[in-house]
């Protein structure tokens, strides 16, 4: 069965520092790949997506992610973190063609120190 692993449950960075959140997936083919962000008490906001093509994708709020097929990874990066980036981040894979369902990782909670 497909699975998504986010190895880091909680990450703390200082404001202005760079950020990388890890995501690995287990699936035989290349799935659709997503990163979502969730603020406390809120729903999920789509940061970026990968369907095909260029393996480096740009998203909103200055985030980017790189798909590495050989490593089955889709890590999220940001060069300079802002205090407002503190939230929970979820990696998700979509399987089943255009009728895909999303399988999520357990999330990484990001804390930003001033």
């Amino acid at each position: 069965a497909q699975s998504v692993t986010q190895p880091d449950i909680h990450i703390t960075v200082s404001e202005g520092a760079s950020l990388e959140l890890r995501c690995n997936y287990s699936y035989g083919a290349t799935p659709y790949l997503f990163w979502y962000v969730q603020s406390p008490g809120q729903g999920l906001q789509l940061l970026l997506k990968y369907f095909s093509g260029d393996t480096l994708v740009q998203g909103i709020k200055g985030f980017e992610a790189e798909f590495k097929r050989s490593q089955s990874s889709f890590n999220l990066r940001k060069p300079s973190v802002h205090w407002s980036d503190a939230a929970e981040y979820f990696c998700a894979v979509g399987l089943g063609g255009s009728n895909y369902k999303l399988t999520f990782g357990k999330g990484t909670l990001l804390t930003v120190n001033p």
Partner: protein
């Protein structure tokens, strides 16, 4: 352009009761998916509706059922509520046209006493 809207925002029920949660998809979307997010976990897929039919289903019991209306809005019904059904229920909508992202609402927080 309204996004995905869900109602109610919060709901408190007791064990054994039934509940109905509602979702209006983003304008232009025709597909609705429901997810359950337990505290401290990632969302889990419940089912997906398209053209008023359940198209896919996750590993949830028959107590969970749904409906989609001609205007694409959707309901999630849960019968015989258990304490373990306490969670945030998220609705996501998308357009059934090639590869399209799913957009989420803010969810309904369901608490079972």
């Amino acid at each position: 352009d309204a996004g995905v809207t869900q109602s109610p925002t919060h709901l408190i029920k007791t064990r054994g009761q039934q509940v109905t949660l509602r979702c209006s998809p983003k304008s232009g979307h025709d597909t609705v998916s429901w997810y359950q997010q337990a505290l401290g976990q990632g969302p889990q897929f419940i089912f997906q509706y398209y053209e008023e039919e359940e198209r896919q289903r996750g590993n949830f019991p028959d107590r969970f059922s749904g409906h989609q209306y001609p205007n694409y809005s959707s309901e999630l019904n849960v019968n015989a509520l258990l304490l373990g059904d306490s969670a945030l229920y998220l609705c996501a909508s998308s357009l059934n046209q090639g590869a399209q992202p799913q957009h989420f609402g803010d969810g309904t927080r369901l608490s079972i006493l």
